[in-house]
């Protein structure tokens, strides 16, 4: 019985994104980080491991630089790491899911935690897609998960507010922002992590037939520049702005 957490390395939210030619210029990204929601997935995966739900493996699919993220995860307590070295930037949702499902099966995990949405793709396809391929129960918008008997109890957002739900293995949790504190590595953790070996594989090693991407990216562009706005001094200008909202913008 194993737990897997899926971590994606993305441009840090503070990093500038430049477009060169017709693609985002990956080489100009100043700082790479773990996608924000994945950090919550990692925190709860550690809590499940500590509650005895199984050993924890961190999985990523990405270029060489993504390995650093796995070492960071080892420093806060994951037991093992799997790095599928591949460039996912032009892959469609089916391709990326087939890689990650193969990686999860390779590790023998039947409980998966991931982010609800990666900060680069802004999609939210991977978790539910994987759950479907694994035949696992899928719980999205999760902000808490805990062991409950042989299964798990989770808190997820619903149209009414929140819901507490129960699931049994196999299952997948896609994390929203949670209210818990994220743990930071201590010196001992960092030293231990240095001794842990990352298992590094290719898609061929996993026996995946990727096929062609069915989504062809035509281009990336910088967002359209907005014409410079109008700026007014003082609360007296509220009258003018309200007038403009009605007459220029036509929105009220």
């Amino acid at each position: 019985m194993k737990i897997a957490v899926l971590l994606k390395q993305v441009p840090d939210t503070t990093a500038k994104i430049a477009v060169s030619g017709d693609r985002v210029d990956q080489s100009s990204v100043a700082k790479w980080s773990t996608s924000p929601y994945d950090e919550y997935a990692l925190e709860y995966a550690l809590q499940l491991k500590e509650a005895g739900a199984g050993d924890l493996v961190a999985i990523t699919c990405g270029p060489d630089r993504a390995a650093k993220m796995l070492t960071d995860a080892a420093a806060v307590g994951v037991d093992s790491m799997l790095h599928v070295v591949a460039d996912t930037t032009e892959m469609d949702s089916k391709q990326i899911q087939s890689i990650l499902v193969a990686a999860i099966n390779h590790c023998g995990a039947d409980v998966v935690l991931c982010g609800k949405q990666a900060a680069d793709t802004n999609s939210g396809s991977t978790g539910p897609g994987i759950a479907s391929l694994m035949g696992a129960a899928c719980v999205g918008m999760v902000s808490e998960v805990a062991v409950e008997g042989d299964g798990f109890s989770a808190l997820r957002a619903s149209s009414m507010g929140n819901e507490r739900v129960s699931v049994s293995r196999p299952c997948l949790f896609a994390f929203d922002k949670a209210s818990t504190e994220l743990r930071r590595p201590n010196v001992k953790g960092i030293m231990m992590a240095k001794r842990k070996v990352i298992e590094t594989v290719s898609t061929d090693d996993l026996g995946i037939n990727l096929g062609e991407s069915q989504v062809n990216i035509d281009s990336h562009d910088s967002p359209p520049e907005k014409p410079p706005g109008q700026k007014f001094e003082g609360a007296d200008s509220v009258h003018t702005v309200v007038l403009k909202l009605r007459e220029e913008a036509n929105v009220i």
Partner: protein, 306 residues
């Protein structure tokens, strides 16, 4: 060309984004079928102009949200291009349907052209991606990015009673306490940040919101600092993405992560006492003033409009 639309519901009826899904599908010239999970809103869907057929799915599994069982029942009816709302449940259901019909999915598109050319925003709004698809495929559409179809249609409603095993059991519903309109649904959003000073001052935002029927949002700094401001109000990269016609930011500096959630708003008004606040860089109309001075004036001026 067939287009299957997954109806988005809100309580016992259709969510207005469903009309926008039909509007977008009609602009492609598709033959449109609307799937109504749990049968909710099937009659309303049948009168949206452009809809050919409504399938009212009645199975027991639809009594609570479970994307696994819902998609199992819905996949066989998901023909051609499948469209859903990019709400959290729409994304989850769309991704599961895509996987069950063996199709790729592109989430949260803001534009679509014949030939399945779609536009979406990536890297937290810092780049725009255009891509081309072929059917079968699944797309989810950002709310308010597409013109809604009008009424006046008369599609046939077919009732299908299929169910399957549910794997997510809902044990307890925890309702939001006296929550106002959701920021993702509103045409006008007024949000407060740390500059509001204290959570009780949000009452002034509520008062302005009441005058113009707006929803009230917040920055992450406000949500993190004050227990009274729930995360469901947060706009931004780790909160909600909103796309209203008017967004009013009050006492919000305009950090890149906040902009990620609101910069696609049609018009942006910023009220901030710091003339150099980055929020002014994206605002169509900026007011350099304290909220203490500006909000009472705003409430009064808006109240004068009829």
């Amino acid at each position: 060309m067939e287009i299957t639309i997954i109806a988005e519901t809100s309580g016992e009826g259709l969510h207005p984004v469903t009309e926008q899904l039909v509007g977008a599908a009609s602009s492609l010239g598709g033959v449109i079928t609307v799937l109504c999970p749990g049968g909710v809103g099937s009659n309303d869907a049948s009168v949206i102009s452009g809809v050919s057929k409504v399938i009212s799915l009645q199975g027991d599994c639809f009594s609570s949200f479970d994307s696994g069982s819902w998609s199992t029942v819905m996949a066989p009816f998901s023909q051609g291009m499948v469209m859903a709302s990019s709400s959290p449940s729409g994304r989850e259901l769309g991704a599961q349907i895509a996987s069950k019909i063996g199709a790729p999915i592109v989430q949260d598109i803001t534009g679509i052209e014949p030939g399945y050319k779609v536009t979406r925003s990536v890297y937290s709004g810092k780049a725009v991606e255009t891509s081309s698809l072929t059917a079968p495929c699944v797309v989810t559409l950002r709310q308010n990015a597409f013109e809604g179809a009008s009424g006046g249609g008369s599609a046939e409603v077919v009732v299908v009673d299929n169910s399957t095993e549910v794997s997510v059991a809902v044990k307890e519903a925890i309702a939001k306490a006296g929550e106002r309109m959701d920021v993702s649904d509103a045409e006008i959003v007024i949000s407060g940040g740390r500059g509001m000073g204290e959570p009780s001052n949000f009452s002034q935002l509520n008062e302005v919101a009441d005058v113009i029927g707006a929803a009230v949002g917040a920055s992450r700094a406000a949500v993190d600092s004050w227990d009274e401001i729930p995360h469901s109000m947060q706009v931004g990269q780790t909160g909600k993405t909103v796309n209203p016609t008017l967004y009013i930011a009050v006492g919000i500096s305009g950090a890149i992560q906040h902009l990620a959630g609101m910069r696609s708003s049609k018009y942006i008004v910023a009220i901030n006492k710091d003339p150099d606040a980055p929020i002014f860089g994206v605002a169509d109309y900026g007011i350099v003033a304290t909220w203490e001075d500006a909000l009472p004036a705003l409430k009064e001026e808006l109240g004068k409009l009829s």
